[in-house]
Symmetry: C2
Subunit: 430 residues, 2 copies
């Protein structure tokens, strides 16, 4: 029997690319079908001469990832360049146009251009897979796309960015500030030199946008996501939250709503006993709730060479297995970006922290500001006054509408005693 | 465009069969491909007239599931009859021989006859899928077979039987005895009239046997599994374990060892803070550890109409997607039953409970018995003497070999003061 060789082109030789090459070098026959072997045939990256811990000298080098995608010596393109546009998009388009399957780890690309690429892939009848884009080696995409298919999914929520989770966990464990922990994470290579995509919540938003599309049957609609990052979380919030029985996590959530879905990324307070609160360090964790299946929970390392390379490899094996599925849930020609739900914002409890000048009647004034907005107070914590004469006050509210909480915040900000605008995080309803 | 209709035959109309029929009646177009529709064409069950909450009057009735499997009006057989032999096996074989794909929820069948059926399926070139056999709607099979494929898996451990987990959880929460909780579970329909398969650990063993085969690249080898059930767990053990910081769970585990794998089912003490200890009621939970991927955790409802029907539906969608994969990890023609590892048993801490006549020197005698076996004591708990004059003593050991612990147990059993043979559970190394 003749052995069928699949010739892989790898565009992008960073951590994941190197991991993939090691994986395939170690296990060229990892696809469990008779007579199939996978080999790396060509590679492309920004710098050919950069020091790497893998030997790439036997692979054909391409300066241009588009040329790699178009090369007749390549059967399948793995895109690990990153970025929603530029060379990553150009290479993926070139491969699909040439009728070649594409496997990518690029969440920005799929979240921002998923529909357009899915249309192209389906016109050409080739798969476009992106398991590694969400939760590294934990198969979140396969989960929602294949295992919960047909179920009436209601909600997804979880922790999808290991860098943010590492920063929040380390702040809690060491008592260091956000800035110090971020700097240390950058030094260790856990955070990028420009950390905006991670700490600003944008990476998380790309990921939840993809999962929401798969869960609720639309194309990704990144523009509709509401995004707040962790750069507003201070050590005092982490400590106050802990005293109240919560841990602050960057929570991605997608809920079915009227006419579409609400997709949000924001720091939230999660009860200490909840599994999402217990996912520490760089772990990712995800709840998926379906009408038939009930609540499923998936947890694993969200990034890193090994996990992400394993996810890419699983996608390569899926391409070779030859399943014919649409890129999202339903043929791309009939899909539209998943609309934002037409509901009036979230509803739930909130944590509010304010800094006020210590003077008689401050608590009364704060209470009054909340009462004016018809928001009831659940608990209040006041810290001892330090020598600045400024007092942090933390309060939690009874369940209220987003509009009412925002109204209360504006009344609080207007108080004479207020030193800075109040900080607000939702208390997760999990 | 002509619509392609897949005509499904359902053998077995219990809880899962009824759930599947409801699912497909509600969502005939759940497969997200263009122009594919799924319809139930024929059904078979033991009793045609039994009262059911679904309407089956429009489906062709077959008294014999083999005739259903062979019917020219059926494109795909769903086997939900259950049992490792008899009509379930006959129907699955008949369908495969007729070149028809089979989807089954039958763990006993796959664990005990998986290799033989896989060979038949692969000779005929048709898929044989069994996602619903393990963890209900949580995609454990897809996880190990597709998502962690190619990774060097090291160990799997988890809770795979909802009935046992419900019984142990309820004993802890209500303080009722094993017998009382079992009787109540039977009354509520959570446990079978003959509970042996569940409480004896055999159902769990079928499931871990299947996962071990997929994880470690062999065919299922049910005969090699070491099995203990929860019928040896008494309320006093649950309470004593709790006082020591543990919860007793029926743990299924599979570990790579010399020349094969160690596959075990037994009640074990799990630290209260561990995710496996926190999976209460009928939840199932699973850790999978791979060299590349790291530790993944999956949790969900392990059984029930909705979850299991969703898993069967996902398999039907996979059949229709047309992926060509071997039934296990590698072509069945080249597989052998996964051998038992040639190692000398487990190594770890143990919990030992004994009942002795209260007399001076008993603790000294017990210590001596352990010392003779070279097992060191980690902690001892002795309860106050009641009016029977018999004292329960609970001790935990330092890590020791299985042989040494068993040696210690035989010395303890030989003590004059011993009222009954000592009870031993492992403390999970998780």
């Amino acid at each position: 029997m003749t052995e069928k060789v699949w010739r892989i082109g790898v565009a992008g030789l960073g951590t994941v690319g190197a991991g993939l090459i090691k994986f395939i070098q170690a296990r060229p026959d990892f696809v469990p079908a008779t007579g199939v072997r996978v080999e790396i045939a060509g590679v492309s990256a920004r710098s050919r001469s950069r020091k790497r811990d893998i030997d790439i000298s036997t692979y054909t080098w391409f300066d241009d990832p588009v040329a790699l995608a178009q090369s007749p010596d390549i059967d399948l393109l793995v895109e690990l360049v990153g970025g929603s546009d530029g060379p990553a998009k150009a290479a993926v388009e070139a491969a699909l146009k040439a009728g070649k399957p594409v496997v990518t780890a690029n969440k920005a690309l799929i979240a921002e251009h998923g529909l357009e690429l899915a249309k192209l892939a389906e016109e050409k009848g080739v798969p476009l897979l992106f398991e590694a884009a969400v939760m590294g080696g934990a198969p979140a995409v396969k989960f929602v796309r294949e295992a919960m298919l047909g179920d009436d999914l209601q909600a997804i929520s979880g922790i999808l960015n290991g860098t943010c989770n590492y920063i929040l966990s380390t702040m809690e464990q060491t008592g260091a500030s956000f800035a110090d922990v971020l700097a240390e994470a950058q030094r260790l290579g856990y955070a990028e030199a420009d950390p905006t995509a991670d700490v600003g919540g944008f990476d998380t938003a790309h990921k939840i946008t993809i999962l929401a599309a798969l869960a609720f049957g639309g194309a990704p609609n990144y523009a509709a996501a509401e995004i707040s990052g962790i750069d507003t979380v201070e050590l005092i919030d982490i400590r106050m939250a802990h005293d109240l029985g919560y841990r602050i996590k960057l929570i991605a959530s997608a809920e079915r709503g009227e006419g579409g879905a609400s997709v949000r990324v924001a720091p939230q307070l999660v009860p200490l006993t909840h599994p999402l609160a217990q996912a520490m360090g760089s772990l990712n964790a995800l709840f998926i709730e379906g009408a038939c299946v009930g609540r499923l929970f998936l947890q694993g390392p969200g990034a890193g060479e090994g996990p992400t390379a394993a996810a890419v490899s699983a996608d390569i094996a899926d391409v070779i297995a030859g399943a014919v599925r649409p890129v999202f849930q339903g043929p791309a020609a009939g899909l539209a970006p998943l609309p934002a739900a037409r509901d009036a914002g979230w509803h739930g409890k909130a944590y509010i922290r304010l800094l006020v000048r210590d003077r008689p009647g401050v608590i009364a004034a704060v209470s009054e500001a909340l009462a004016k907005a018809e928001v009831s107070i659940d608990s209040i914590l006041q810290r001892p006054v330090d020598d600045t004469g400024q007092v942090p006050i933390v309060l939690t509210t009874q369940p209220a509408s987003e509009a009412a909480v925002k109204d209360a915040l504006s009344h609080i900000a207007d108080l004479d005693a207020a030193v800075e605008p109040p900080r607000m995080f939702r208390i997760a309803h999990v």
